[in-house]
Chain length 306, copies 4
């Protein structure tokens, strides 16, 4: 359970006191504010603030295109047009701020997305809590035999038990030593100096939890979600991305539907793939040899088109 | 007068309907929302949306620093500490969106700040209005004799009158031809094809007004204001920056005061300047020759320290 | 002719003096360095510097993926894999710097790409030359009847002549007045103050030429080329993008070929389009009504698949 | 010793083969290329590529300012002028690419600088080496008593020994288990599935070494160096920044000297501090009470001015 009674009280207090505003309000997002969605064993995602809604995207586009856009009869049609034609700037007019608690190895993948603002809990300044990600048995997967950066079936039996035991005991021991190094008291009660926090943290493994505030515009959030809610993303970051996708759908339903249709569930065809499909539509039987594609590319092509 | 009755009605309508929200609300900014501040002869700045307030800066910093920051007794002290030590990420947690109407030559300077989101009215897609910036007599300045990118005294007499007449008549003629080129009707009423908008716009001078939505986080807004509300900035962009500075002061009063003290009204000393000041504090008489500075640098140094 | 004898001499001098370096050298790019490719009537593009080559992309990827990538048998296969799977960071390891001379209205579109470094000639500081873009008769196009931001057939006869005459005479008059306003001498030889450069420039139309140094990494250059070498881009910016595409092909031939296949000549299919194509491959006759697409989307779909 | 004989051979091979180029060549940087500067116990920094030199900064500035800048008599004066007046774009015209090997907890600080391109060795894809940062006794510092994010004196005696023993034994055990979890063979020789790499890495502590290619422009590198070569930066990242500062001094000596004078060794004064200094120059005795500064701010002020 990631939230303490204190934290739940804080959330309830934050939600107890609506204020009037003249800004755009997204009702679906108001229902989300401050609530924590549990992710993995100790993590969460929650929305702290947002700016804009579907109408703000349309408003920004109409400044760009002036009266000309009025021929697109409705907001939905315009948003789909913008998404289809890669007009990214109107989507940048919406912004969202999340509070995320996540394991450090997930944070290290996540931070590769540079077009966001981040404030992370500082283990240089403060002391981290004793919380570590330990995978569910179903997520304790073997190395994929075909994909260097993928996983296969779940580990079974004694091997699974051995791995879980190591993950738990190594984390516990590392944290025990972390605390003992920081302490100004030795085990026998006599005083010691206590190691600097900025050094002691180096003993902690990558499955310890950290947390951050993460703020991003909607265009870049969509880019993040396309890469991280994808089936090829590591399960642990995908678990966060999927929750954030649901939140985004509640926030900007029209934009999210266009994103799903054109990006998340869409695909990109190379000129070779276009050529092959055109030949197949004419009834030709295309093989890897006649496709001009590499084996890997052909396998991916067949995965979609059979 | 930059606003038409229709526009004033739209603003009144946008302000008529407060909605409840659970987000952080900045009362000083609510009072600003949608209102247009007139700038130059036909321009304006108005706030369309914002995210966060002084407390959001503190909240983000406390995630970064954890319990450790509690020794700073209050929000103001923490915000000043962050500003003094160049901790920029907490200020990035606030965001603001402006609607700006401005001459194209000002827009060309402005867009150099790349860390913002922009949706500009498209003259490729739509037709620009007949509105041009014509300086007030007091702003019709001569070239500076000492600074290649500065101005001197206002032009006087016939010279001023001649310049104003040219600015007006060239703009009027360029716009007449712009309209005539776009038109599908010749002056004699017979039909013509009409030049593409994306081409016709090339005939328009740089004092024509354009408009855009411009969205930026508070850290980058402060950077913009430091450069553009500065005495060395061109008067026409400074006029916008000064209005935006006032709006920012209403939005995040603590952060703005820290910004004023440490950035806007602060200065940076080189190691040579530090050395000179230390010698002067000891009573030494320092000259340009003994300062190690170039003439230009010494002139700037004396401008501050006498 | 955009280049003066002086400029040609400068280029010859810059190319006369090869120096030894231990860095990666791209022979195709060395042949391009400093040479000016003419674009439009007075514009040019030339390469001033570059960093990296195809091998640098592979080298960066192999740091990312370690020994694991060795199963991809060759550089070409790895580069194609990276492009296909949207791995952008290895392409960011190459960088290029262009010197470009271009009309202001093209510069205004171009600068929307924010992920580049720019140094533009300052008309606040210096005096612009008397050079204006005047379209070739074939490029003097009518407004498109179906697309607000497109063009139709070239203007014909008197209409074309009238437009060209206006573009030329308005530019000439605006520049005459620009010079006269800047001048410290009146037409009659008596002295005057002379308007500040930062103000006088506002009288100049958007077809005047400016120039800049523009530096960008290969990933972002590809993004620029995909949008600006596209058939929907305005002809005048496309003319620059096409020259830059040729230069890029000479620089990183493997990466450019992958870019062409997967991006420039590739397309993105929505989930609806995937569904339609699958039904068509099974022999079904799909219509706009049964496609689930809007009219515009269906028109674009048919444009590719017939 | 961070470099194996194989690695030294690779460096020698890379340096053995100069090629002619027409690009700007920085002799001081050619001498640095590929050589590895040892940092900490197993880390290094080495330059892989660079673009531009001091002259490239001047060249970019002269495009910006046109003929106007010729009154600055020399390159050094112009570069100092640009640095003093915060003209950042000419410095962005130089670019450098480093190969860095560094502990993960240092990498986590480093990556906060978002304006760089990064390719990191992927522990999702590949297997990390058994190399951990273990501080020198002199760097094994106690927590600072006055600064939450600082350190005090080195630990002494048994406490130091105990900390070092824990750091070593926890790292060794975590790595032993990492290997055993990855292995497809159990200790008794019987087969097992082997945990996915993307999961096994979570057991590794933050002092394990990773490596990356890191590419950045000179303006942003200066910003990085100002923050990370500063006395307040954590010693472990400062060790890298100081080596990179030396490399930068060899690359662009004029720009580096200006950076040192105006940024690295310069300071920023608040308006309150300016006011106090002016009063002190007039002979007034200023105290914290009469300064208007907080205690912390006054302590910092006195640290400089006594």
């Amino acid at each position: 359970m990631p939230l303490s009674p204190d934290q739940l009280d804080e959330i309830a207090a934050a939600r107890a006191n609506p204020q009037p505003t003249l800004r755009a309000v997204a009702p679906g997002m108001e229902a989300q504010l401050y609530h924590a969605h549990q992710v993995l064993d100790h993590g969460f995602v929650r929305v702290i603030d947002y700016m804009g809604d579907d109408a703000a995207i349309v408003q920004a586009a109409r400044v760009s295109y002036g009266a000309g856009t009025k021929h697109v009869s409705n907001d939905d049609g315009l948003i789909r047009y913008l998404m289809r034609h890669w007009h990214s700037s109107p989507f940048e007019m919406c912004e969202v701020k999340f509070h995320v608690k996540l394991p450090v190895f997930v944070a290290r993948q996540w931070i590769r997305h540079r077009t966001a603002n981040v404030n992370e809990y500082s283990a240089r300044y403060s002391i981290l809590d004793r919380e570590f990600y330990i995978p569910e048995p179903s997520a304790l997967a073997a190395q994929s035999a075909v994909n260097n950066q993928g996983r296969g079936a779940a580990l079974a039996g004694e091997e699974a038990a051995r791995v879980l035991a190591w993950l738990k005991s190594d984390a516990a021991q590392a944290y025990d030593h972390y605390e003992a190094m920081l302490s100004q008291t030795q085990p026998d009660g006599s005083p010691q100096q206590g190691l600097a926090r900025e050094l002691a943290r180096m003993n902690l493994p990558a499955n310890i939890y950290t947390q951050w505030y993460w703020k991003i515009d909607l265009h870049n959030l969509f880019h993040f979600l396309r890469l991280r809610a994808d089936a090829h993303a590591q399960y642990e970051i995908r678990a966060y991305a999927e929750v954030m996708a649901q939140i985004t759908a509640a926030w900007v339903p029209l934009a999210f539907r266009a994103f799903e249709d054109y990006r998340l569930d869409g695909i990109t065809l190379s000129s070779k793939a276009i050529d092959c499909l055109k030949r197949m539509l004419k009834g030709e039987q295309v093989t890897q040899e006649s496709s001009g594609m590499s084996k890997g590319e052909w396998r991916e092509f067949q995965g979609v088109w059979g």
